[in-house]
Amino acid sequence: MSKELIRLRNIRMAFDDEVVLNDLNLYINDKEFLTLLGPSGCGKTTTLRIIGGFTTPVSGDVLFNGVRINDVPPYRRQINTVFQKYALFPHMNVFENVAFGLRMPKVEEQLDENGKVVSRRKVKISEAEIRTRVMEMLETVSLKGFETRKPDALSGGQQQRVAIARALVNRPKVLLLDEPLGALDLKLRKDMQLELKKIQQQVGITFIYVTHDQEEALTMSDTIVVMDKGCIQQIGTPEDIYNEPKNAFVADFIGESNIIDGVMVRDKLVKMYGREFPCLDGGFAENEPVDVVIRPEDIDIVPVDQGQLVGTVTSVTFKGMQYDIIVDFRGFKWLIQTTDHSPVGARIGVKIDPDGFHIMKKSQYSGMFGDYSSYSDEYDELSDAEALDDGEDEGAEEERREEGYAE
């Protein structure tokens, strides 16, 4: 897990003066499942295309095993891609699609100690071996018996599997996946998430996965890279990203967050709404203005006289596992997830344990997120996959969500 495989160094990318990636630095370890997560237009797909070799950065280096590969064309990289909408060859059946990479003439290079090419020879894989490897791969993705079908006679999920098999059969060092589950319905998407993770562990190679779906990222990744506006906002494990978001953007993009203006009085003491709350964070200047993140599930509802804060319930939504209630605290609305029902209009008290607070430094994103005032529209826009359970118009939902961040 610890050997570095790919490094992006000071990558800058622009299309027609529009900066897409701004001084991006990232390293990716061998056998890691890394997810590039962010809203549309954040530069995640461009990053993937640079690694795949389809786009050349304006400046900066792409290193593979320590060797600069900026000028190596895609067909000579030990990297394969699962494309958005799969891009299967429409004129070939499933078998031929998967066999495509194996049929390509390969040149094996003999290198001496200095990395200089000593000899080259063409390698051709025998038809029998192609057959064995393709059938093996089709079995891995549970598509045995579909060899002679054409892509247009397959369902979305099956096409998806063909695309994965087509890439993996070449035994690449790295598999790039560009929103591969975007076109599938919710149920299938959840199954495929687990299956992809299983496949990754089975073949034991690096997966670099691009998505705008935070739930997908949390489910599958070893490492999540949160991106926005061509910059990396945070790199970390799913737990890190969720529990210790670096700024309001990350806090809001990953899960639900109430983000409140506060002041760090001193270590382990934060002040908001004119009241001081004990917390576990430290390392800020005295009286430094901060963003306070409180996750909706970390808030306890208590009788008014025991509450640290008192507010009015303005809306209640039944979500199956819990109620989502919106509570007005002096004009700033919080989202609270609770199993107890409180009627609209009720006065309630809330209590937050010290470990329920997460304190962030002020950033360019301060004040932009974390208020649930316009609950009905904004909450829907920002909701995660669970809120999309009706499945049907999830595509539309997704689009709206992207628009929500597009500015």
């Binding site: 000579r76 990297i79 891009a87 390509m104 003439p105 070449n170």
Partner: protein
């Protein structure tokens, strides 16, 4: 379905100007005129056609050559165009279309002046001290005329099919280890075949039945089917019954050819007929 009446004018047009004439042709082909002026049912017209086998062969051969030349010239051009963007592409497309805006007869006549014994090319050749060539009134000149007139009909359908190939499919091939030659051979070319197929249809059919081109550039030496049929209706050999029979046989042969070709195209047979 009230909407079907929208197509009524076209259906009427087709009935009057396509279906009805076809029936007339069929009737003529199956009859002959007796000396007393009455018509009788017979297969004589078809039996008498064996003598024209050479004309059939020549027509199909020349049209075939013209079609192949059109593919060889047109495919690379269409491929190049589809890879281009912006101004160059629209300019080139316009240049390809340009000859089609001129009258067919006029542009074929202009070739006569270019190829004549004392025409432009021969003047050019003799001015640099080379011997004159006999270009006009040869089969070569006829093929040249066909290629010149019908080439755009080969380029445009191929161009439009290649342009529609999803770029991600090409990237997928590169990703899987295909260099530019392999990408072309295994992805672009097979996916462009429907375009080639409609191009072939649109070049071969008018070539096989042309009579203007062979008349003007072939000088009546290499008689083609078109000339033969024309002679039966308007020429000295006046015999509309035989003419109809020849037309009918030619039509059937062409249809069979196209049917076989489409079979090769299989599922991709939804050839874009522009």
């Amino acid at each position: 379905m009230r909407n079907k009446w929208i197509a009524a004018p076209y259906v009427g047009w087709m009935a009057v100007f396509v279906v009805a004439p076809l029936i007339v042709v069929l009737v003529y082909a199956l009859t002959r005129e007796a000396p007393d002026g009455s018509w009788y049912l017979t297969a004589e017209n078809f039996a008498g056609m064996a003598g024209y086998a050479a004309v059939f062969a020549r027509s199909f051969l020349l049209a075939g050559i013209a079609t192949v030349v059109c593919i060889l010239l047109g495919y690379p051009m269409a491929y190049f165009l589809s890879r281009e963007r912006g101004r160059l592409r629209s300019m080139a497309t316009m240049l390809i279309m340009l000859p089609m805006w001129m009258n067919f007869l006029l542009r074929t006549y202009s070739w006569v002046f270019l190829l004549e014994r004392n025409g432009f090319f021969n003047t050019l050749l003799s001015s640099i001290g080379l011997p004159k060539l006999d270009i006009i009134n040869t089969s070569g000149a006829v093929v040249l005329g066909m290629v010149y007139n019908f080439l755009p009909f080969m380029v445009l359908p191929i161009f439009s099919v290649i342009t529609k190939i999803d770029n991600r499919v090409i990237e997928a091939a590169q990703d899987l280890g295909a260099g530019s030659f392999q990408v072309f051979r295994r992805v672009i070319f097979p996916l462009s075949l429907p375009g080639v197929l409609s191009g072939v249809t649109m070049v071969f059919i008018p070539s096989v039945s042309t009579f203007v081109i062979s008349r003007l550039l072939g000088g009546g030496k290499s008689l083609l089917l078109g000339d033969l049929i024309e002679m039966q209706f308007l020429g000295a050999a006046y015999n509309p019954h035989l003419g109809s029979a020849i037309s009918l046989v030619m039509m059937v042969i062409v249809l069979v050819c196209m049917g076989i070709m489409n079979r090769f195209g299989e599922g991709e047979g939804e050839a874009v007929l522009l």
